[in-house]
């Protein structure tokens, strides 16, 4: 029995899933002033009549970190950045105090210039004086060789709340993103830790001794201990939970589009061969571009409650809302009103809707029914436009080998799965516009909580092997090994799968349920002086994204 809870900005949803079936669901309002209490109350309600001994684990998607950022309740962060030669960066938005230090590691992880120790002790004093609470340390190419980050961290000692080192958050190359990711992690670290400690204590008091897993933006989970060190990964896990919920409600194996149409926004996701498409580099959080792996999503300011009006002689919908639909006591027309006018939706304010539509119909020189249809058609067109633009961008993602270029793999959606208030009404219109089949589930209200419950631990690793330097590195799991000079691609791949499996186990995956896969792998001959000398091997591996299991049927 797994408990899934997804806390969003306005609502908190909970679900209990056992043996592939939904046993219980719940929906409450989020109390933004006491997020912990919100979760705790919901959890208690959920398990009220449940035998606690049956609970295997708790999966939690929280806005604790997101909220801390939005409300600016974050730690004061001192950043130490080793940028070496290259671009001239402005990191003023990535820390309360940002210090650039000497020293440099190159693209192969070779130390070109050492850290200046006196510089670090001066910075330490400055940070202490200016009351920096949390520290981030990031070096260029630190994923290839983290020794400078570690050295600086050791020099700072335990004077500060937490220290986040850039290389530990992602093995991917992108220095500015590494800086921003590290900053965010340091900034939300204390808030999340307090929350996690609270959670642990309360569960203990309640006598629930089960692991707590936290949802990540890539639709997977991590154990609470890992989350305490990498709270940045919990940011924006909400959409990922919805996505996983959708995946649980429909089992797909081809390319497709997932739509979540709400009151104000429509979220769009894509599946390639039934597997979620990820952001190419990492998710953006506010103005911060990060290295956090996340399910690709794009959002339009378009929903049932979007503001419908004439602008420059054109019918416009959204991107903002102007209160509730007229049908439900609002003052301005919305797509929901159009649905009411067409008799697709029942509402008390139908008369007022007709009155408002009559005005608009005159301007458009159409009948009332035509006007209502036009609103819905426009809504579907806007979705199509964005889907097409996203697909064009996705299908133009850069490739680096002749094989990939000539294969020209493209995402070609075969279906649309849709959830949200207007799902049932919009489904036939979408089917007509996209010329593909559209499905919507009978029950979707707590798809996000179901998604949270069924998510499994995920990890991606980026292995780099340099047989000349006899080094193997996997920054995500802090593995830096010395290897034999004859290390091969096959050995590297096996080792990568082993590391992924092991890491997934540490994140809380059940032993017999870990699928690891190689996503990318390359071996380059490093030729020095015209003879084949050694190898530069790169392997990217991950746990296969997906669910613990598919739902067997509807609620019991």
């Amino acid at each position: 029995m797994i408990i899934g809870i997804d806390m969003g900005g306005t609502h908190i949803d909970g679900a209990i899933v056992a043996n592939g079936k939904i046993i219980k669901t719940i929906k409450n309002t989020t109390d933004r002033d006491d997020l912990f209490k919100t979760i705790w109350t919901t959890l208690q309600e959920l398990i009220k009549d449940i035998d606690k001994g049956q609970i295997a684990r708790i999966h939690l998607s929280t806005t604790v970190s997101t909220n801390a950022l939005v409300e600016n309740k974050v730690s004061k962060v001192g950043m130490i950045v080793q940028s070496g030669p290259g671009r001239n960066y402005d990191f003023s938005a990535a820390g309360d105090q940002v210090e650039f230090i000497a020293g440099y590691v190159d693209h192969r992880g070779i130390v070109i210039k050492e850290v200046a120790k006196s510089e670090i002790s001066t910075i330490k004093d400055n940070f202490t004086k200016s009351a920096m609470e949390s520290i981030g340390i990031v070096g260029k190419f630190s994923t290839r060789n983290p020794s400078h980050e570690i050295q600086v961290s050791e020099m700072l000692g335990d004077h500060f709340d937490t220290i986040t080192m850039g290389h530990s958050l992602s093995g991917r190359l992108n220095f500015p993103r590494r800086v921003h990711t590290t900053y965010l992690n340091a900034a939300v670290s204390r808030t999340f830790r307090t929350f996690a400690d609270n959670m642990e204590k309360s569960l203990e008091k309640e006598g629930i001794n089960v692991p707590v897993h936290i949802l990540k933006a890539d639709g997977g989970t991590m154990d609470l201990g890992t989350a305490k060190n990498k709270p940045v990964e919990t940011i924006l896990s909400g959409p990922a939970a919805s996505f996983m919920g959708l995946s649980a409600l429909f089992s797909e194996s081809t390319d497709g589009i997932l739509l979540d149409i709400g009151g104000t926004t429509t979220d769009i996701f894509f599946l390639a061969h039934g597997v979620p498409l990820f952001e190419p580099l990492g998710i953006s959080i506010g103005s911060h571009k990060t290295l956090i792996r996340a399910i690709y999503s794009t959002s339009i300011g378009l929903g049932g409650d979007s503001y419908v009006r004439m602008e420059d002689n054109n019918l416009r919908i959204g991107p903002h809302r102007a209160g509730r639909p007229i049908a439900f006591g609002g003052e301005h027309l919305t797509p929901t009103d159009a649905m009411v006018a067409l008799g697709k939706l029942e509402a008390t304010g139908k008369q007022q809707v007709i009155a408002a539509l009559t005005k608009l119909a005159k301007q458009l020189k159409l009948s009332i029914q035509e006007t209502a249809n036009k609103i819905l058609d426009e809504m579907v067109s806007l979705i199509k436009e964005r889907v097409d633009a996203s697909l064009a961008a996705i299908n133009a993602r850069p490739v680096y080998t002749i094989k990939e270029l000539l294969e020209g793999k493209e995402v070609q959606p075969q279906f649309i799965n849709i959830i949200g208030g207007p799902a049932k009404i919009l489904a036939p219109l979408l089917a007509e516009k996209f010329h593909i089949k559209v499905k919507y589930p009978e029950e979707y209200a707590v798809a996000n909580a179901i998604g949270a419950a069924l998510a499994k631990p995920t990890i991606e690793i980026n292995m780099h092997v340099d047989t000349e330097r006899r080094k193997l590195s996997v920054p995500e799991v802090e593995i830096y090994e010395t290897i034999e000079q004859n290390y091969s691609l096959a050995t590297a791949q096996n080792r990568a799968l082993e590391i992924v499996t092991d890491a997934a186990r540490k994140l809380g995956a059940p032993k017999d349920n870990i699928e690891a896969e190689i996503v990318e792998s390359n071996s380059f001959n490093m030729v020095r002086g015209f003879s084949k000398a050694s190898k530069n091997i790169r392997v990217r591996a991950q746990t296969t994204p997906g669910l613990i299991y598919a739902l067997k049927g509807k609620r019991q």
Partner: protein
């Protein structure tokens, strides 16, 4: 967020699954560290820098420029069609105003590929820039173009292709051919009868550093470009003038390449040679990208950069200053010089031996340029190699007059297949390419 002053399109295609051979300088690893540097520096996140995948060039694209013997399909590998396709995509991005400038980081290079292609020479089979340029001329019309070749090796292939084309100014500065492959590139190689003075070679002494390259740029290249007023400037961006290049003996730097690109301000750049793949390419390419995008490159240095050690010898400076004066003077007097050379001539012939170092083939050819009052005239190539090929190739230039077009077709029709292994007609005005 950083925003590029100039919108820049990048075709970054390292062809990680292609090599001439396992230990050849032109191998899978070549752009690996450049990719690392580009990724790590967050170039993908700069607002205004767009990445494009290459297209795949067609055989017709190749035929617009080359006589591949016996045909393009048998001489080119997929990687060649894609390298050209990459340059075409980059050029199109500028022509379509998707971006202000573009840089095609593709491999293998192309500037040693002449009009006739029997195989690989200087790691080149097909002239990437020239094929891309002729494609955009075909699609977008007449263009006045300057190609500035900053590779350490003389761009002899590009020189051959544009030898008699007054609308394409070719400037190559390179390590003096007396000390480096392919051996050509003296300043007396000044263009064909219809374009005398529009092929400019600047052979530089070994050990030329930042000072010398930038002196040539400021005192020869830029003034000539001001006179020529091109619609488009293309940098044939070879990177082996770098002090760490294993195949050359020059002392140029990443900073120098960046400054050069800022001042030259090319519309497009295409990667050529450069085989210091670890110590130079990551930094030069970063420098060129930032300079082209109009971003700060002042912190781009090689790990082992030492200004003092790279300081240019006074004797070299002296030599370069004199050279600059001579070459600019030649350019200013090109019309009088052409008059001297070609007055009252009906045709001009040029005999050459061309060695394909990579393929190990020797070619002997005679080019004949007819002089026409109304256009740049029909020209022909009679070429043999030491592998029993003997071809005859006829070209009617882009803006050929009707008389010359008719003459070319008559000549093609009259040639007997018995005398040659292959006969070609390149009809640029009508974009038709025949062979028998």
């Amino acid at each position: 967020m950083t925003k590029a002053k100039n919108r820049l399109g990048l075709v970054f295609f390292p062809a990680f699954d292609w090599a001439i051979s396992a230990t050849h300088p032109e191998r899978e690893e070549r752009l690996l560290y450049t990719q690392d540097q580009i990724f790590e520096e967050g170039i993908q996140d700069i607002d205004g820098i767009e990445f494009y995948n290459p297209g795949v060039a067609s055989e017709k694209d190749i035929a617009r420029v080359h006589f591949a013997v016996p045909d393009a399909a048998s001489q080119l590998t997929q990687s060649h069609f894609i390298a050209v396709g990459g340059a075409i995509r980059a050029f199109q991005a500028v022509m379509e105003k998707e971006v202000d400038k573009s840089f095609a980081l593709v491999r293998p290079p192309g500037h040693h590929a002449h009009r006739v292609v029997y195989g690989d020479r200087g790691f080149c089979v097909v002239n990437v820039e020239a094929v891309a340029l002729e494609r955009i001329r075909q699609d977008y019309g007449d263009l006045r173009v300057a190609i500035v070749d900053t590779d350490a090796h003389h761009g002899d292939g590009t020189q051959d292709i544009y030898w008699n084309d007054k609308d394409t100014l070719f400037i190559s500065f390179h390590q003096d051919g007396r000390s480096l492959y392919p051996g050509t590139g003296g300043m007396e190689e000044f263009g064909g009868p219809a374009a005398y003075g529009y092929n400019i070679n600047i052979p530089l002494p070994q050990g030329t550093g930042e000072e010398g390259f930038l002196y040539i740029l400021d005192n020869v290249v830029m003034p000539i470009l001001e006179d020529f007023k091109p619609d488009i400037i293309i940098n044939s961006a070879g990177q082996d003038n770098h002090y760490s290049d294993p195949l050359t003996n020059m002392n140029f730097t990443a900073q120098g390449y960046a400054i050069l690109n800022e001042r030259l301000n090319p519309d497009m750049a295409v990667l050529e040679g450069g085989y210091s793949i670890e110590g130079a390419l990551p930094y030069i390419n970063l420098g060129i990208i930032l300079a082209m995008a109009g971003l700060d490159y002042s912190h781009v240095f090689e790990p082992d950069y030492d200004a003092e050690k790279l300081k240019q010898d006074a004797a070299i400076t002296d030599h370069i200053e004199k050279l600059a004066e001579i070459i600019y003077d030649l350019w200013q007097h090109k019309e009088e010089l052409a008059e001297e050379h070609f007055k009252n001539k009906k045709e001009v012939t040029r005999e050459r031996q061309i060695y394909y170092d990579t393929a190990g083939i020797m070619e002997y050819q005679v080019q004949t340029f007819t002089l026409c009052e109304n256009c740049s005239g029909v020209n022909t190539i009679d070429s043999k190699n030491d592998e029993h090929a003997h071809i005859f190739a006829i070209t009617t230039p882009r803006k050929a007059c009707q008389e010359c077009i008719d003459k070319a077709y008559a000549l093609y029709a009259g040639l007997s297949k018995r005398a040659y292994t292959n006969i070609y007609l390149q009809d640029r005005p009508r974009d038709k390419y025949l062979s028998k």
